[in-house]
């Protein structure tokens, strides 16, 4: 018996040694690759490919890889080819940090991703320490690029999406000016900072425009029954309902609202952008609903049409906003490398901060002093289950 125990112990130790050996080897070969292929520019893609927001991450990766392939086919940047190094951060901040450190060890010039604000925050200290620029495709929290305590802009953190306050403001303007709403109700996802931010700025702008907020209610992630609160809202008779949140909750919410006979227009943010909206809520219920987004794949702008076609040809699916933002992140980086005229991460960061009037798929953008892009937002309306671009609002 005792001898048997020892045998298992030996097997175990051997197994551990083997794993450490494999891991060690992996690191070694990566360094050798760097030495022999110096003419390549390594771009780290650190996104969520598993875990809670895996769909965002994989779409952004698809967009980024498409952009890199297009650039390489067109001769690369400064005569060099871009080489994507794709890693999964498991939708957690600690893994995002670990992945960033591993990528820094592979001499990347810049990192695309992660998608959520929290994961970008995890990655931030490593990027700052190694002086490598990070371009976040969709991190919308204000403190991603600016340090809360000191108020200083983080020198190596950039993004290509607009931030939360902008979306709320945009929808309030649209509701008040275009839809002529006077009494709005807010029914927001209180378990998400994103939705809270949108609701706050919607309220602020709507009140400034002379409107009244007649009801403020909240739901939390994974709620499925909204009837009680919706009945309460119905009794206040609002002529606009703002529902910032994610499609998982918003789709059944809208369906239940229409079933209760609430005909008022309903608005939301980019969390609505999912094919599930139509399949869950149904095209009829979605009529007279609007949301703010970064771009629409239905847009007739020739640049967007070309992008959508290329994306469909490669992946056989519709590119959503995350794919477009991933694509723009790479294009912005390429612009930065060209402006810096060197594949040097510090110089690229300096160049990125100065970019103006960059033409992306998600609109024309200029990077401001807080490393946020100044860019337009799109208002999209659901018409019988199809997304139709209503208007594009430049700030």
């Amino acid at each position: 018996m005792k001898r048997k125990g020892n045998k298992y112990f030996v097997i175990l130790v051997a197994m551990l040694l083997m794993i450490s050996f494999v891991a060690g080897c992996g690191g070694g070969t990566a360094e050798e690759n760097q030495a022999t292929e110096a003419e390549k520019i390594a771009v780290g893609i650190n996104v969520e490919l598993s875990g809670g927001v895996a769909s965002y991450g994989s779409n952004a990766r698809d967009g980024a890889v498409l952009a890199i392939e297009e650039i390489n086919a067109a001769g690369g940047v400064l005569g060099m080819q871009l080489e994507p190094i794709i890693r999964d951060c498991k939708s957690t901040a600690d893994e995002a940090m670990s992945v960033s450190a591993a990528l820094a060890g592979e001499n990347i010039v810049a990192q695309i991703g992660p998608l959520t604000s929290g994961d970008v925050q995890g990655s931030t200290p490593v990027m700052m320490e190694n002086k490598i620029p990070l371009i976040a495709p969709a991190a919308t929290a204000a403190n991603v690029t600016v340090d809360d305590k000191t108020g200083e802009t983080k020198a190596y953190i950039f993004r290509v999406c607009f931030i939360d306050p902008f979306q709320g403001t945009l929808m309030a303007q649209y509701a008040a000016d275009e839809l002529g709403a006077k009494n709005a109700a807010i029914y927001a996802d209180t378990s998400s900072d994103y939705a809270k931010g949108l609701a706050e700025y919607f309220k602020k702008t709507f009140v400034e425009k002379g409107g009244t907020i007649v009801a403020e209610e909240g739901f939390v992630k994974d709620d499925r029954d909204f009837n009680a609160t919706l009945t309460k809202i119905r009794s206040k008779n609002p002529d606009f309902i703002y529902v910032p949140g994610y499609y998982q909750e918003v789709a059944p919410l809208i369906k239940q609202a229409r079933e209760l006979g609430i005909a008022a227009p309903i608005g939301g943010g980019d969390g609505w952008d999912s094919p599930d909206m139509v399949s869950v809520a149904g095209g009829d219920a979605l009529n007279n609903t609007f949301f703010t987004n970064h771009y629409s794949s239905q847009d007739t702008d020739p640049k967007i049409v070309a992008f959508v076609e290329a994306f469909k040809a490669k992946y056989d699916k519709e590119p959503d906003a995350f794919a477009a933002l991933g694509y723009d992140s790479v294009q912005l980086l390429v612009q930065g490398i060209k402006d810096a005229n060197a594949a040097d991460s510090v110089k690229i960061a300096e160049a990125l901060a100065k970019i103006t009037n960059f033409e992306g798929i998600t609109g024309k953008m200029s990077i401001d002093e807080q490393h946020n892009p100044v860019k337009a937002g799109v208002i999209i309306e659901f018409k019988d289950g199809v997304q139709v671009v209503r208007t594009r609002i430049q700030p």
């Binding site: 175990l12 992996g26 890693r87 060890g105």
Partner: protein, 316 residues
């Protein structure tokens, strides 16, 4: 007299081994032999060891299936960050307050729920973990759903190493004491041990509180290394990760918990490069281990001085 001298010698020998291990890693970090990426993984490894060993005390030795370990981690993390970041206290105060807060939370949840058994306890602790997460999400002082960002990095290798050693020492010594024997008797047969005059509930609460305190310690170290904490980090998936480590290592084996924690951290790191198939490989390895070692890697065996002595003499 001779026996006593021998114990002293082995004690000194162990201290030297531990000190040498510490110095080697410390030296390698200062001269840059261990790069940033490995440093992060060593940190994760130490934190996972503390979590697995402390949960093993509850799940393995006491036999109470707890699924709320990440909740205690969250309590420790938030309490300590409030101390260090918001109130400007030194790190040691953060550590003590973090452990204390998690211990109190463990006591408060333990007293009513440990009268439950098996599945009921599992569900109660799972619920507790979720309550912590939702409460933190709705307190604006700690940042709500976005969490607390920009935490100063105070967790260093000496702190990590000391915390890991202290965790293992306290739990191993607790198990080897008369309290530990009472705790194990609760696992083996609750009715029989009650007949023997053991107050089963109080021993269960004791194990629960000690386990929770060390989970809090892990939370403190986590928060002060990874720059950001948010309620979602400490969801039930995190709890399950720790349970996986404990079961993989072998319920009721501290050595097993340590080995499994190292193994899983390393596996996660080694599979980073294979993003697409990562979760498949990870799950396959777990399934294979469970098929061939259903009792976990170590079963309930421990690796002690005696094991080493036996291997040594066996070779001779």
């Amino acid at each position: 007299m001779h026996e006593k001298k021998k114990t002293w010698l082995t004690f000194i020998f162990e201290v030297i081994v531990l000190a040498v291990l510490f110095t080697i890693v410390q030296y390698a970090m200062t001269v840059g032999l261990i790069n940033q990426s490995y440093q992060i993984n060593i940190t994760s490894m130490c934190i996972n060891i503390i979590l697995a060993v402390s949960l093993n005390l509850i799940n393995g030795f006491t036999g109470q299936l707890s699924l709320g370990h990440a909740g205690f981690m969250a309590v420790g993390a938030y309490a300590s960050v409030i101390m260090t970041n918001n109130l400007g206290m030194p790190f040691i105060v953060g550590i003590l307050v973090g452990c204390l807060a998690a211990g109190i939370a463990g006591f408060l949840i333990g007293v009513p729920t440990l009268r439950l058994k098996g599945d009921y306890l599992a569900i109660a602790t799972l619920g507790f973990g979720e309550i912590i997460r939702v409460v933190l999400q709705n307190i604006d002082y700690v940042g709500g759903p976005a969490g607390m960002v920009g935490i100063t990095r105070l967790t260093s290798w000496p702190w990590l190493y000391a915390a890991t050693i202290v965790t293992i020492l306290v739990i191993v010594n607790l198990i080897n004491s008369s309290y530990g024997r009472a705790i194990i008797s609760v696992r083996e047969d609750e009715i029989a041990s009650e007949l023997m005059g053991i107050n089963t509930t109080s021993y269960k609460v004791l194990a629960f509180v000690v386990g929770a305190m060390f989970a809090g310690l892990a939370g403190v170290l986590y928060a002060h290394f990874f720059y950001i904490i948010k309620p979602e980090t400490f969801g039930f998936l995190k709890s399950f990760d720790i349970v996986v480590m404990v079961v993989l290592g072998g319920l009721g084996s501290t050595t097993g918990a340590v080995i499994a924690a190292i193994f899983i951290t390393f596996l996660t790191f080694a599979l980073q490069k294979y993003a697409a198939v990562r979760m498949i490989i990870y799950s396959l390895i777990l399934i294979i281990v469970m098929i061939y070692r259903p009792q976990g890697l170590m079963g309930s065996k421990e690796l002690t001085r005696k094991t080493f002595a036996r291997i040594w003499s066996g070779k001779k």
